[in-house]
């Protein structure tokens, strides 16, 4: 009969444990939804967006609502899944929407041979602010709009550069 009592005790504890686990699981789900669909923080680094973003890395807040409603405009800094490596995200500025005609110089260091392109339907042209050290649409062409995953809102770290990005 003793094992019946042990079983009852175990059942009470198990119920409590299950409740705690379900609270944690619900919280993690909430974090996932907020991070993917509302707002998230990203660490960006690299020289391709100087002087807007620092070389040694900034933490920026990005919102994930605008691109779902098609409200990405010219001049927005966006987080894009890289077309050359789908496991990486890149941060660039949108300089052309579908139907726009753009001209850029093939190599900004030598000469000014200028190439003119028209952005096809459903694509955007992204470019880093630092033309000399950025692989962007001048290298891999216009990217499909659906690769955009977020729009940068403001920078939160380092603290002395806190504020909106321009």
């Amino acid at each position: 009969m003793r094992w019946l009592r042990y079983l009852n005790q175990w059942r009470g504890t198990a119920k409590e444990a299950l409740e705690q686990v379900s609270i944690v699981a619900k919280f993690l789900c909430l974090i996932h939804v907020t991070d993917r669909y509302i707002i998230s923080s990203t660490h960006v680094q690299g020289p391709s967006m100087l002087p807007t973003l620092n070389l040694t890395g900034d933490v920026i807040l990005a919102e994930h609502l605008s691109h779902r409603f098609g409200k990405i405009g010219l001049g927005d800094i966006v987080l894009v899944r890289s077309p050359t490596d789908p496991t990486r995200m890149v941060t660039k500025r949108v300089l052309g929407l579908e139907g726009h005609r753009l001209s850029f110089s093939a190599d900004p260091l030598v000469g000014d041979s200028s190439i003119s392109v028209v952005v096809p339907k459903g694509h955007v042209w992204i470019q880093g602010d630092n033309l000399y050290a950025s692989t962007d649409s001048r290298n891999f062409g216009p990217v499909p709009y659906n690769l955009i995953e977020g729009k940068a809102l403001l920078r939160v770290w380092p603290p002395r550069f806190f504020g909106s990005l321009r």
Partner: protein, 153 residues
Amino acid sequence: MGIQNLLWQVTKKAFTGGIIGVTISDRCCSVVPVRGDSMSPTLNPQRNSYLDDYVLVEKFCLQDYKFVRGDVVVFSSPTHFKDKYIKRIVGLPGEWISSSRDVIRVPEGHCWVEGDNKASSLDSRTFGPIPLGLIRGRVTSVVWPPQRVSKIS
């Protein structure tokens, strides 16, 4: 007072259920209907639209984007903002694909997709290779109608 409390309880439960459902459908798997006959006879072998196949799409493949030739995938359209297509991967990065006129090399980070029903399929023969980042999941099996439940090879 009782009604207000009841409403609040129901809203809380619905909200929690919705959030859990969205997380599972983003990270684990989801069920989507197949429209059109571009994947006949693998999916939607008949032309009646009220007998659409429903397939299970798994999302674990999105952790590292490792696909093999022959995978049937769901991807967002490169030309139309809100559309999603289901096609088969026939070319991985670095491979050469012979389309109607010439031989094309699939660039790094892209893949070549084609529908099984070559006659009526809008795929890479029209819009070129698509970036792997557009892929939203891999189709593993048909789950509805019950007589067509099967794994997709």
